[in-house]
């Protein structure tokens, strides 16, 4: 049977407006012309426990045609809305903005401290997980005070807060003393009730000349063992974050961590040698001994001497071994300290013991997962470090006291 092309074409043309591929609920075609857009760059969520309302604050940009630059301070716009639920608040935002809000490009989500404290994280995470405009690769930050304060803060080096936060987050891999995770990690870990969750803490302080200063430092641990008691939130210091990042691969990129030690007897400063450490390989194994799990952690590290004021000759094998030993001791001490804190005080499994045992000892896990909260604080960990390399650098060492 041969169907003529004309009726077919007609059929297609008639059906065109009916296809709802990109349609709206009202039935029209959801065309969003570019010049109507208000691009949301930063989203902040807070909770008002008194009125039991969510506060949504956003920073948007509506670029205008100006000489050469798409974004100028005049094009950045900050607003807030409240609502009984986050969705309601986000709809209320539309009453205040002329353009169409799009969230696709909002790279940073800031959660206020009140959310964590008031046990409403579950709703917040669910909202972000369901919303199809929110990217799972958005960074999650927890504000020390309110999220709104960060969203409305004046940026220092960029035209808007979105760019500034993004830049600071991208630098974390070089710094390694905090970690910012993505929405995807948050959703994955938060849904697993045995795993804790950690992300960066953002804080605003008054800097020089009364200017706002935004710092992302430390890490916030949200204990997910019992989401109903999520108020047991605690903050890790920079040093603890550093140890955590050796323990586990938290972010995509392994950080380059600096450890300072004192090498040689008579040092003028507190420490005279800085070593940059990067984890090359991690091998964690779990064993069950007498019905109790035990973790064995083997780390392979790469080290690079970045500065040294020592008298000792770094080109000698013994010196290098001594240096390695010193750094090793320090790292292990830090890690033990962190582990003790997480196990005894916070009772948060952000180092990932639960998933390790789950993977390696399925039967044990299924029998004992009910008692995990009791088992976890008492799991002993054996940490050993192997050095893959200790690079000396290419310059000749300055020999103090040497003439000429």
């Amino acid at each position: 049977m041969k169907v003529g092309w004309k009726p077919l074409l007609l059929l297609v043309l008639i059906m065109l407006p009916l296809i709802q591929g990109c349609g709206t609920a009202e039935g029209g075609i959801a065309v969003r012309e570019l010049n109507q857009l208000n691009v949301v760059m930063v989203t902040g969520v807070d909770y008002d426990p008194k009125h039991k309302k969510f506060i949504l604050s956003i920073q948007t940009v509506k670029p205008a045609l100006e000489k050469g630059t798409a974004v100028s301070p005049e094009t950045v716009y900050t607003t807030r809305a409240t609502g009984d639920t986050i969705m309601e608040a986000s709809k209320n935002l539309r009453a205040q903005t002329s353009g169409k809000l799009i969230w696709f490009h909002g790279k940073v989500i800031i959660l206020g401290h009140t959310l964590v404290r008031e046990n409403v994280m579950k709703e917040v995470i669910d909202f972000f997980a369901r919303n199809r405009e929110i990217r799972y690769s958005s960074w999650i930050l927890i504000a020390k005070k309110t999220a709104e304060e960060i969203v409305t803060a004046e940026p220092n080096s960029e035209v808007m807060m979105g760019y500034e936060l993004n830049g600071i987050i991208n630098n974390q891999s070089e710094w390694g003393r905090t970690v910012v995770v993505t929405l995807k990690d948050l959703i994955n870990h938060y849904s697993d009730s045995y795993v804790g969750f950690v992300t960066g803490q953002v804080n605003k302080s008054k800097g020089k000349g009364g200017k706002d200063q935004i710092i992302i430092a430390d890490g916030v641990v949200i204990n997910a063992f019992n989401p109903k008691q999520a108020s047991r939130v605690s903050v890790l210091s920079k040093k603890e974050m550093q140890a955590l990042r050796i323990f586990r691969k938290v972010a995509q990129q392994e950080p380059e961590l600096i450890y300072s030690v004192s090498l040689g007897a008579d040092a003028d400063t507190k420490y005279n040698t800085a070593v940059q450490v990067k984890v090359r390989n991690r091998k964690a194994t779990s064993t069950i001994e007498n019905g109790r799990p035990k973790i064995k952690m083997e780390l392979t590290l790469d080290g690079t001497v970045l500065e040294s004021g020592t008298q000792l000759d770094l080109s000698k094998k013994e010196t290098v071994a001594r240096l390695e030993g010193d750094v090793e001791k320090k790292i292990i001490a830090d890690m033990r300290l962190l582990l003790t804190r997480l196990q005894k005080k916070d009772n948060a499994d952000i180092v990932g013991f639960a998933s390790l045992i789950h993977r390696q000892h399925k039967d044990y896990w299924h029998q004992h997962k009910g008692q995990w909260r009791e088992i976890y604080p008492n799991i002993p960990a054996d940490i050993s470090i192997k050095w893959n390399s200790m690079r000396n650098g290419i310059i000749r060492q300055v020999k103090a006291g040497e003439k000429e």
Binding site: W5, L16, P17, I19, G21, C22, I29, A30, V31, R32, E33, L34, N35, L37, V39, M41, V61, K62, P63, A64, L65, E66, T69, A70, V71, T75, I102, F104, H105, K107, E133, R135
Partner: protein, 544 residues
């Protein structure tokens, strides 16, 4: 005219009287005869005067029709008491007069009495190169209209057509539509004989066969198709013969008309027959087992069967280093897609899928579009249509004026529209790049197809975004895969897959890797050569 005076001298009064009688007698009968019988049933009369009258009637009111009676000085009276005489007929503007004088009329006038009849005239008297015997009036008329000179001498039951046409022709020059940097610069002309000569001189084998058909009810255009006997697939040849036989057209002026009449899918936007002005391209096609169709009066030669990828090839690809050619081939495939999808992709992602644009780029594009009063589709349509208008104006106008148009166009469209805020800069960039991309497609007919398909694509993209584009592309893909050209799937060697031939059809690999002929064109002889994969080792260094 020298010829007229010469022949006038041999006219005798007595003969003139006889002629008049015969003429009067024949005048009525000739017209009646021509009306009552079709031309092909009227045979050539042994009496010249009868034929003269008949042809005069056929060519009545054709002012360039010339006939000359020939009276032979050496002739003796025949058995019927008449001195044999003859006549030549030709169309004055179509024959080569020098050849006519030297090789036809002079020898005829000087021949002896014994040489009047039969083969003798053809074999020994007329020294012209190509002589055709015609035995009915239709064939005679056809020969005269195609520029031959017709000779008849009393007693002959056929007429002789001396093929020595003297049309005005253009000399061989570089083809303008397919220029190249390196490679032969000869191009076809409007003369069939020149074109076949350009092919034959590059392919010196008796295996190169050519067959001739006359097409066009009134134009009677000579169409010649050439092929390599040992390579061409019988089915393809049969199809070509059959389709050419079935062509019914009034006037055939250009190969494009024939293309439309013999191609498989007339309604498809895609061209299915490659046309070229380059003899080297035709020769390489013949050596792949294809058939070349040459039409008298146009320099464009058709190549069948052609597949889609043939339209993305330029003959220069094989004359450059293969790295470069392969890169250019890949680039061309990409620019083909850009030419087809450029504006529609822009419309789709700016109106529906803003999440696909990186943030800084999005902000820049938004700021460029700030204040533009039209939706993206209208903006794109305005720009695309004005681009097509400019292009058309540039092509149609005389060359000196054409450049003025493009300057005004560039200034008005490019600058003023942007400054006035009617069109965004981003759209100008997209449309300009798409326009240029469409010119990188070597085949002009394919480039036109993509330019035209761009518009429905844009409308679909504005309504359905990338989903719509995907649907349209799938539909287009299904259509392209469903076409066959002379029995060969149009999307070969991609679908169906013939990886072996990708080396020359899609990419340009070094020679050892592209020694395989296209197996979807012919299966008789698949290997072009036996070049070993390793280059020959040099023996000795020549220094010892």
């Amino acid at each position: 005219m020298k010829r007229v005076i010469e022949m006038g001298e041999f006219k005798k009064p007595k003969r003139a009287k006889v002629m008049n009688e015969i003429e009067q007698e024949q005048e009525q009968t000739a017209e009646d005869l021509l009306e009552s019988k079709p031309l092909e049933q009227i045979e050539i009369d042994p009496i010249t005067a009868v034929n003269v009258e008949r042809l005069k009637t056929v060519f009545k009111d054709v002012d360039v029709f010339v006939h000359h009676s020939l009276t032979f000085p050496n002739a003796r009276e025949g058995q019927d008491g008449r001195v044999p005489e003859g006549a030549v007929f030709f169309l004055d503007d179509l024959v080569n007069e020098d050849i006519l004088d030297q090789h036809v009329i002079h020898p005829l006038l000087e021949m002896g009495p014994e040489s009047f009849f039969g083969q003798h005239v053809e074999d020994q008297v007329i020294t012209a190169k190509k002589i055709v015997q015609v035995d009915n009036l239709k064939a005679a008329v056809e020969m005269v209209t195609s520029g031959s000179t017709l000779v008849h001498v009393d007693g002959m039951t056929h007429a002789l057509a001396i093929v020595a046409p003297g049309f005005p022709t253009r000399s061989v020059s570089e083809p303008e539509a397919e220029p190249l940097v390196r490679g032969p610069r000869e191009g076809f002309t409007e003369k069939l004989q020149d074109n076949t000569a350009l092919i034959r001189k590059r392919l010196r084998t008796p295996e190169l066969k050519s067959e001739v058909v006359k097409l066009g009810r009134r134009s009677q255009t000579t169409v010649c198709f050439m092929y390599m006997r040992e390579l061409v697939e019988e089915d393809v040849l049969k199809t070509v013969r059959e389709r050419l036989k079935n062509v019914d057209i009034d006037i055939l002026l250009e190969s494009a008309q024939l293309e439309e009449l013999i191609e498989d899918s007339v309604y498809s936007p895609f061209p299915q027959i490659v046309s070229t002005e380059r003899p080297d391209k035709v020769v390489s096609a013949l050596s792949e087992g294809r058939v070349a169709i040459i039409i008298d009066g146009t320099p464009f030669v058709l190549i069948v069967p052609s597949v889609f990828y043939d339209f993305l090839q330029a003959s220069e690809d094989f004359y450059q280093r293969f790295y470069f050619s392969t890169a250019i081939r890949i680039l061309r495939t990409m620019t083909f897609l850009v030419a087809l999808l450029g504006p529609s992709f822009y419309i789709a992602i700016t109106t529906f899928h803003q999440e696909l644009i990186p943030t800084p780029l999005l902000l820049t594009v938004i700021s460029a579009r700030a204040g533009v009063p039209f939706p993206a589709l209208i903006e794109a349509l305005i720009m695309e249509i004005s681009f097509e208008v400019l292009r058309e104006a540039g092509v149609r106008l005389p060359r000196p004026v054409g450049s003025a148009v493009s300057i005004v166009g560039a200034l008005v469209i490019g600058q003023a529209a942007v400054e006035a805020g009617i069109i965004s800069q981003a759209m100008v960039i997209v449309v300009a790049f798409t326009g240029i991309a469409s010119f990188t497609v070597p085949a002009f007919n394919l480039s036109m197809a993509t330019r035209l398909l761009r518009f429905p694509m844009m409308i679909i993209a504005a309504g359905l975004g990338l989903f719509g584009m995907a649907i349209a592309l799938v539909a287009l893909g299904i259509h392209m895969c469903s076409i066959r050209t002379f029995g060969v799937p149009y999307m070969s060697p991609i679908a169906p897959m013939h990886v072996r031939t990708w080396g020359s059809e899609i990419f340009v690999l070094p020679y050892p890797l592209r020694k395989w002929r296209q197996e979807y064109i012919q299966k008789k002889d698949l290997k072009r050569s036996d070049v070993p994969s390793n280059p020959p080792q040099q023996e000795g260094d020549g220094q010892s």
